[in-house]
């Protein structure tokens, strides 16, 4: 399968990755190779076949949505590249006219 420049840039955008001009050909080639590899699945008839998302577990993985961790705010902020005592610091995203 051939990937167009538009598809490649769109995918990179969705993945929040920057692709330089030099990286584009390599990325395209890798993606096309992987999709060619995936062609191995397309000859298999999967009509009416259910998806297999996760190995079946003998118990339910669902539980009540109860907070158990307590407040770990200070510990969580410790690993942030930029933070103050209230939260993470991010660049301003709304400009004033």
């Amino acid at each position: 399968m051939k990937i167009t420049n538009r598809e490649l840039m769109r995918t990179a955008g969705l993945a929040a990755l920057h692709l330089s001009e030099e990286e584009m050909e390599g990325a395209r080639s890798d993606l096309e190779k992987m999709l060619d590899l995936a062609e191995g699945m397309h000859s298999i008839d999967t009509k009416d076949c259910a998806s297999f998302d996760i190995p079946p577990l003998p118990v339910s993985a669902l539980r009540e949505d109860v907070v158990q961790n307590g407040s770990g705010k200070a510990a969580a902020l410790k690993n942030a590249p930029y933070a103050n005592e209230d939260g993470f610091i991010v660049p301003k995203t709304i400009a004033m006219e």
Binding site: A15, A27, A38, G40, I44, A61, L62, F88
Partner: protein, 489 residues
Amino acid sequence: MKDYKDLSARSLGQRIQEGTVDAVEAAKDALAAIEEAEEKLHAFLHILPRDVILARAGEVQARVERKELTSPLAGVPFAVKDNLCVAGVPTTCGSRMLSNYIPSYTSTAVQKLLDAGAILIGKTNMDEFAMGSSTETSYFGPSKNPFDPSRTPGGSSGGSAVSVAAGFVPFSLGTDTGGSVRQPASFCGLVGWKPSYGLISRNGLIAYASSMDVVGTFTKDPGDALMLMSMLAGKDPKDSTSLDFRFVSDTKKPEAKGLRIGIPTDLLQAGVDPAIRKLLYKCADRWREAGASVTELELGHSGALIPAYYTIACAEASSNLERYDGVKYGYRADQYAGLSDLYKKSRSQGFGAEVRRRILIGTFVLSREYYDAYYRKALQVRRLIAGAFEAAFRSFDFLLTPVAPGTAPLLGEYEKDPVGQYASDLFTVGANLTGGTAVSFPVGLSDGGLPVGLQLIGAPGRDRAILRFLEENLPIGHELPIHPYPCII
């Protein structure tokens, strides 16, 4: 201790309990072994400070002497793959993205070992975010195979394999999403146990592909893996996918006599080193002589294993790794123009080439236009693959396969064609796709002096059965452990 490097975890633990060896002495032996060969092999990304290790060993020794600690792991040194969190200890996942990350909590698997009195020595090298088969995608450089330092130890848990094969520690933890414990165990002459999905808690494991990730072990023999199973397995309230230990409570010891073992010939049609094929059939003969029935079968859908695995693994990786945005933790780019550019630059500079490659593939197969054609298709094919394994396990107790098509490749081999190399995972990904268990075990050395491993695969929950069978029936032409030491000293 003269024989520290050869000891299993059980033997060392027993000596400590008997009082013939001191936990501090064992820790000093571990540090001496590391001092001797780590520079050549690069097993570790972080070694705990000597005074911290010795102080902890001293505390454990005192508790053993007071009879407060009777665990067979009390005082036994161990190492942990660097994608398992340990509070206060750097946990990088082999990535620039997490090069400054220090977790505030300890993963359940590691905590259980610490509670048992085991002595953490350090965090081991790995392919970045567990994506790779050689440790060469590690941001911090590759580990080297103790049997031949010009070769890879395998991956992604390569550092953990090296730490045991080189005699630094008697056992270590790794993780296995598509073969990342079994393949390095095979390349380094060790027993690598990939547990059934859910058997060991993943709380504190940095996620790669959540429907397949498991925590596994590297040991010198199957008996140590059995002991670690009893320590590590069990339900954890912090991991809702974890299972009760009763899931593996086979009480009957599997005898070779009457055991049905299948060799999936369609898997073997892919290129396999003739020497490995020969050892596989030799192993089959050995088990036949012991009374097992070893016959061939056609598994079915073998050509779809790699496409389905990589489609699903990349999709899950793309989703799991969205969290790395340069804001909450991890690497942040120095220069950017606005929030969107901050995300893109931080991720592009923080992730290495293989991680970016898999994120792109995963994002593509999850995109609206291609979701049905690739991702949903892979999930449906996964159902058929699971059906093929279930059918096989109705007729066979275990399946016998190679672990990898060859022995450990030279460093640099994988880099030539990264996507092409995905095919070398053919024998290992089946157990991950289906949630079953599999154990890689050593069967000897190739003509070139490199370890060769084979694999037994079992249905989910047959972990104990496989390990107990191997404990009695390891068809090895050498005594364990296989010694790499002449190569590294």
